[in-house]
């Protein structure tokens, strides 16, 4: 019997890749990690809350003063935007290039 992607056991779901840049990378101590999205986490904001609880350093990094911005699959994203298995989600401070 065929099953759709959303009904796969969690082990078989494609993980989400998480990237951190600038002081978020330094404070979490992580440049890249991956996790399988638990049920109920389907937005950028939801993922951020989940990640904040991942370690004391994560909590500290996301709680630090200063704005945190995000991109999903290399496109800037707001917190209400959806995150799906296999996505690449990046967290970073406001950009300062140029």
């Amino acid at each position: 019997m065929p099953s759709s992607c959303s009904h796969l056991p969690r082990m078989q779901q494609k993980p989400v890749t998480i990237l951190y840049f600038a002081w978020l990378r330094e404070r979490t101590g992580v440049a890249e990690e991956s996790l399988v999205l638990p049920d109920g986490v389907r937005t950028v904001g939801g993922l951020r809350t989940l990640l904040s609880a991942r370690s004391p350093r994560h909590r500290e990094a996301f709680a630090a003063p200063g704005l945190v911005r995000a991109a999903v699959n290399q496109v800037f994203a707001t917190q209400d935007m959806p995150v799906a298995p296999g996505d690449e989600v990046a967290f970073f401070p406001p950009v300062t290039g140029g």
Binding site: T78, E88, A90, T96, G98
Partner: protein, 166 residues
């Protein structure tokens, strides 16, 4: 002609001028902008490190370069943004535009550098002469400068949403 590079190596301001000029037949006006690692007596720095988001940078810069060409009727433009550790006086970013007439070249250059300041995924860290390392904070004035291009007849051409704080 569209030329977009994200690189660690220095760029050659004169060479890029020649290259764009030669690639844009009929050009009457070329403008450029170079952002330079700044150090001054009030706040001496020994170096600046630029971090970027490799998977995103090249595509984002290509989109905005194409957008500038369309918006201002440019004959071509070059955008080169460096990453890595740079010394004071080194060029960080180069924008060159070519057009038939000067206003398009000047406006295209201002548009591109305003955009790069607010929407290109780069982050600067200053290495101060006193030993401290400090991440540069985004300036509200930069958001305002980039925002001005969102008014007027071409606002519907904007390629993407701006990131909101989350």
């Amino acid at each position: 002609m569209l030329r977009v590079l994200v690189q660690a190596e220095p760029f050659d301001v004169g060479g890029e001028y020649e290259r764009l000029l030669n690639g844009c037949a009929g050009a009457g006006a070329l403008a450029n902008f170079v952002g330079v690692v700044r150090s001054n007596e009030q706040r001496p720095i020994t170096a600046l490190t630029l971090e970027h988001y490799p998977g995103m940078t090249q595509a984002a810069l290509e989109r905005i370069a194409q957008d500038a060409v369309t918006r201002f009727g440019l004959l071509g433009c070059s955008v080169i943004h460096r990453f890595g550790t740079l010394a004071p006086g080194e060029g960080i970013v180069l924008v060159v535009t070519a057009a038939s007439h000067r206003q398009a070249a000047l406006d295209g250059t201002a548009f591109l550098i305003d955009w790069l300041k607010t929407d290109a995924p780069f982050w600067k860290k200053e290495h101060l002469a006193n030993g401290e390392d400090v991440w540069v904070e985004a300036r509200a004035a930069d958001d305002k400068a980039a925002g001005k291009w969102k008014e007027g007849p071409f606002s519907e051409c904007l390629p993407k949403i701006r990131p909101a704080a989350i």
